[in-house]
């Protein structure tokens, strides 16, 4: 089959590789009909997430048709086996459904989906290992990803979610990651009536977060970015916008909230913040030298901007330890910080309902539909021409 593989920093290629096969009883093999490139993939492309290996198949946002299932499905264990021919979306977080964390609906914290050997590094770096993820480095499983013609899906009886035929791929594809991610990030803002939510990053995650914040009752959403087309799309959803290249973000937020600050602040940017702020330039230097993974400029700014007693929600991905973290502001302003890889499984059904009811159209984020072979160009453009290339869907 053809698959997008990571060969090193800024080097992805479409190669011919062996087809996947069923390994474990609860596996399924999916023939991919649509797969997307995520902002998270850019962190891999830029080689700022450790433990990638040359030849790893990328991609964690994918859907398709079940073409083979393991013995557990045939025996209909748990009463919900998959059938060949079903059309499904696959959560990017792999979860077993029966551990302490899965039972608590903390699917991205599943104990059992990251292979035992792959847990050594996260155990050492973070104290515990998160769940396995598709196509996202060896410390979260080393699983082959979904930017390919076929994918092996472990624990498919728990993860794969059947979608109705009257919805086209592009309406449901983002249930795999960015819609639930934006939604969970908005939930983590603990929005109350009358609230103002400030969201850094108007990328696909930010776009879903803006719309989700309104669905959850926000009075006002302020979107912060520097890409004009992304800000225009945010404005189209009803957000006020700030271009961080034109205004001082902290001043502008204070001004527009009459000094109180936004009730909640969301970092939908993550470890590769743009901009020439002095802390960001220092972080960039450390990242280039390889002594730091993260550039937490946005996170620091969100904490300083947030009103007293407010919530800071962090869907943006970070990988390591960060310097100059304003803990004093967190303590003295009584802030709550919430984060996480998304517990996708939790949101599949409720968000499908929002799509079916027409309360949100996920297609608005898409700018490009391309064949799988165009992946190297798409990665390059998504990184260097962000305003035009907002969301790329690949059709294997």
């Amino acid at each position: 089959m053809r698959a997008v593989r990571w060969h090193g920093k800024l080097d992805v290629r479409v190669d011919t590789v062996p087809d996947p096969e069923i390994v474990n009883p609860r596996d399924a093999i999916i023939k991919v009909t649509s797969t997307a490139i995520c902002g998270s993939d850019l962190h891999l492309y830029d080689a700022v997430i450790p433990t990638m290996q040359k030849g790893d198949i990328l991609g964690h946002e994918f859907m398709g048709e079940v073409v083979d299932v393991g013995s557990a499905h045939k025996e209909k264990l748990n009463g919900h086996g998959l059938k060949v021919g079903q059309r499904v979306v696959i959560p990017f977080t792999i979860a077993c459904g029966s551990c302490f964390f899965c039972e608590k609906q903390l699917w991205s914290c599943c104990d059992n989906s990251n292979p035992a050997d792959n847990q050594d590094i996260p155990d050492a770096l973070m104290g515990h290992s998160p769940s396995g993820l598709f196509g996202y480095s060896h410390m979260t499983g080393g699983y082959a990803g979904g930017q390919a013609e076929y994918v092996r899906v472990p624990f498919a009886d728990t993860g794969a979610f059947a979608v109705p035929d009257h919805l086209e791929d592009e309406q449901v594809l983002f249930l795999t990651d960015i819609f639930p991610t934006g939604y969970m990030a908005a939930e983590n803002c603990a929005i109350e009536k009358g609230d103002t939510v400030a969201i850094w990053g108007a990328g696909p995650v930010g776009q879903f977060a803006i719309r989700s914040a309104f669905l959850l009752g926000a009075e006002r959403v302020i979107a912060i970015d520097h890409n004009p087309a992304r800000l225009r799309l945010a404005a189209g959803a009803g957000a006020d916008t700030l271009n961080f290249e034109e205004v001082d973000v902290l001043d502008a937020l204070a001004e527009t909230t009459a000094g109180r600050g936004p009730d909640s602040c969301m970092d939908a940017v993550g470890m590769e913040a743009h901009g020439v702020a002095i802390d960001n330039v220092a972080d960039l230097a450390k990242q280039k030298m390889g002594i730091a993974f993260d550039r937490p400029h946005v996170l620091r700014q969100a904490i300083i901007a947030c009103r007293k007693g407010g919530h800071v929600s962090v869907p943006g991905v970070y990988g390591g330890v960060i310097d100059n973290f304003p803990m004093g502001a967190v303590v003295n302003k009584g802030l709550t910080i919430k984060s996480g890889q998304t517990h996708v499984h939790r949101y599949l059904k409720p968000l499908l309902d929002h799509i079916e009811a027409g309360r949100i159209d996920p297609r608005v984020v898409i700018t490009h539909r391309l064949p799988l072979d165009a992946a190297p160009m798409a990665y390059d453009q998504f990184k260097n021409n962000q305003d035009e290339f907002r969301k790329v869907v690949l059709k294997p």
């Binding site: 390994v23 474990n24 023939k31 700022v48 551990c99 035992a116 847990q119 050594d120 770096l125 002594i291």
Partner: protein
């Protein structure tokens, strides 16, 4: 009732976690900084990983907790085990895992020794040769197969299984696995302790560690695989994808 520290197996004493003396903490932190600098020179992703491990070492230096310390010399548990077994030296490793199943069920699975190779990576085979006796075959460094005979020294249904090798075994070792219901009805806890007489003493241990065949890592991974098998019915793997074309 929560268990008291008195029933904790060796190596899991519930005392303060800080086991590094101040000079060692300084060295650990310095080592971390050096790793950071090496990482800075290498750059790229392996550089960044080195950098992070360096940072983790700095953190160890700062907190004083150091599982890696055992590499450099025998700890109090090692010395106690050596004395108890009458060995020249001993290496003791212990690890616990929480399993979302009742202790009785976990015990029953474990008591059937022929089940152990399904989750213990290095154990090729265990044959029960008698009521209390079993013959173990392991795959050691370089794929060499080594066998020994073990005898049960304790067997308390739902609670405890312990064994030791017969005198004169190639690799002398003892094992003790305790099963407890976890507080709050949250499944069970498995506490495993393995003590063995390292081939070639401390040096052999280091070499084994470098080839990732060292029991401290092994016991941790094996317990995780036991947990996966009992909680999910299978053991997670990213196994290289096969080569047969799809039908």
């Amino acid at each position: 009732m929560a268990s008291s520290s008195a029933v904790a197996p060796p190596g899991t004493r519930l005392g303060p976690r800080q086991n590094l003396e101040t000079p060692e903490r300084v060295i650990s932190a310095l080592g971390g900084t050096v790793l950071g600098l090496v990482a800075a020179k290498r750059g790229g992703v392996s550089g960044a990983l080195l950098g992070a491990l360096g940072a983790a070492l700095v953190a160890r230096g700062a907190t004083g907790a150091a599982p890696v310390k055992r590499l450099i010399g025998p700890g109090p548990d090692d010395k106690a085990a050596a004395k108890r077994q009458g060995w020249s030296s001993a290496a003791v490793f212990s690890r616990a895992v929480a399993i979302n199943k009742p202790a009785s069920e976990v015990y029953a699975f474990f008591r059937k020794f022929s089940n152990l190779p399904t989750f213990m990576e290095n154990i090729a085979e265990i044959v029960e040769t008698g009521d209390k006796h079993s013959r173990w075959t392991v795959t050691g460094p370089g794929g060499v197969k080594v066998s020994w005979d073990a005898v049960l020294t304790a067997d308390e249904p739902g609670r405890l299984i312990a064994w030791k090798t017969l005198p004169g075994s190639t690799i002398e070792n003892t094992g003790r696995v305790e099963f407890r219901d976890a507080p709050g009805g949250r499944g069970s806890e498995v506490h495993a302790t393995i003590a063995y007489k390292p081939p070639g003493g401390t040096a052999g241990k280091l070499v084994a560690k470098l080839t990732q065949r060292e029991p401290g890592i092994q016991i941790r991974r094996d317990l995780k695989r036991l947990k996966m098998l009992l909680e999910t019915g299978e053991i997670a793997t990213n196994a290289p994808q096969g080569t047969t074309p799809k039908s």
